[in-house]
Symmetry: C2
Subunit: 303 residues, 2 copies
């Protein structure tokens, strides 16, 4: 039997860019009756009140969660693991618990530790949206419009709980997709986490070259685009790198193998192989570019 | 004694984006008396006439070069090496020979082979400008405005010849800098050639993942920026990779070392080291971003 879940009474745990934007988007559209936030820093919560995102806030987690329909963990990734632990004993079967973190496997493992099994009303989700800025100050009601949200239910998840989480994200304009946890983490490692690792490594390499001064003076537009993601929040990417460590390490190894192959082709002056590799990459990137044209995701998405 | 060099009679060898834009820019500003182009494909030369870039063209190299003040090799990189060979016996001491290629060391070595020494009137140069398009059709008079041109003279180069090449580039709005050949090739390997190698390798890796379909569907804005350069012309980057092979291979090795270090930190869950690496990269990239704000180079620069 499906349970009568809803998101009328929404509780945001951790009020930053993501939680603030979700609250703002739902309120602006009149899709929610009451939004309460919990967090460790009262300043962010107060600011959320001033910005009109909230009906109230509390520093007491039990107080926040009581009487909630929907609890959204919107803290940084590593703190989300702690929050799951703190929620033990606080959830009731009529609530839905969800989140917005960039990695899902670590939270699923943590939930299994905390509850001994996966609660049927736990629905892990990842809105693929963000901004170069962070914090509640950067939140905006349209952050998720036209962006994808990946929901990663397991066999234990109540379909009715999945459905209400999907409804909530559609209410703020997102396109909702489903994927299993392992695939989600592998796909995101490939398209987002590995590129960040490469960009951070490249910028560090260049910053320490002896020609440092010249290197930065003569870098052109391609370099700017390529390294933009190295300006992303180090703490957030530290968290993601640890949370998705095993998928990321596996992909770094696969990437390294390819780089070694290309290096060998360059050293051997193997014209045909170099041209093949570059041509196939261009063809794939051009196809991807065509796909992107059909999407409304803006250029500021980060994770 | 300095010689009375000029660029009144300009000969472009190979009429594509770069040569066409140089001709167009100089003519539009009335800085040149006569522009003649030589090439292998008459269609490009005819199109250059139609677009108003040229006073004439020829398929005969000796004919093109005779009576020139300034000869600009503007062919693709690998062909530029051949053209140097074909110019043996055609240059007179009152001409200046220059080029627009992205790598300088290979051309310097080739010139030493051809002439036994470096001609004093050979001035290698690299305008750091480009476009995602190529060919004479994409040429425009303002391509070099506000962009850097790196001139790479050696001890054998006549300062008067360097000076007239610098004047020519300033006449089309470029900022002229000097650098030695080896440093130029190392700096460009770091800021441009290595990023292309990484982007091509990453896109190939992703295109062959089993989750291919999902990977491209869920890639976000960061990935789009990061891989944009993988859409660059494979032949051009093949040429550059071979022409600058030794600097590039050395940098691939240095990059790989760093990647291995970061991989180990992730596997060991060494929080402090990961955070240090990401934080230092962000700091360097943010400084670089500030530098870029002061520049007028547009986002389409490629090489």
């Amino acid at each position: 039997m499906s349970k009568p879940y809803s998101f009328h009474k929404l509780v945001i745990l951790g009020l930053g860019l993501m939680g603030g934007s979700l609250a703002a988007g739902l309120r602006q559209r009149g899709e929610v009756e009451e939004v309460v936030a919990w967090g460790r820093r009262e300043s962010s919560l107060k600011r959320g009140m001033e910005l009109g995102f909230l009906d109230g806030y509390t520093l007491d987690l039990a107080d926040a969660v009581s009487a909630a329909d929907m609890v959204v963990i919107a803290t940084p990734t590593m703190i989300a693991e702690d929050v799951l632990g703190q929620l033990q004993g606080l959830l009731t079967p009529d609530m839905v618990l969800t989140d917005v973190a960039s990695v899902k496997g670590n939270l699923l493992r943590r939930a299994r530790q905390v509850w001994g099994t996966e609660p049927a009303n736990l629905v892990l989700a990842h809105p693929i949206a963000g901004s170069e800025e962070s914090g509640v100050e950067a939140a905006r009601a349209d952050l998720f419009e036209g962006h994808r949200v990946i929901i990663t239910p397991t066999e234990a998840t109540d379909p009715a709980a999945v459905s209400v989480v999907a409804d909530m994200w559609r209410a703020v304009g997102a396109d909702v997709e489903q994927m299993d946890v392992e695939r989600h983490d592998r796909v995101l490692a490939a398209t987002s986490h590995l590129p960040h690792v490469l960009a951070y490594s490249l910028v560090n390499l260049l910053a320490e070259q002896d020609a440092k001064q010249d290197i930065f003076r003569f870098a052109a537009g391609g370099f700017r685009d390529f390294t933009r993601i190295a300006s992303s929040d180090p703490k957030m990417w530290h968290d993601i790198s640890l949370a998705n460590g095993s998928a990321l390490v596996r992909l770094i190894d696969e990437f390294s193998e390819r780089l070694v192959g290309l290096r060998a082709a360059i050293e051997a002056r193997d014209s045909e192989q170099i041209l093949d590799l570059y041509s196939s990459a261009k063809a794939a990137r051009d196809r991807f570019g065509e796909m992107l044209k059909d999407r409304s995701d803006d250029a500021k998405e980060q994770d």
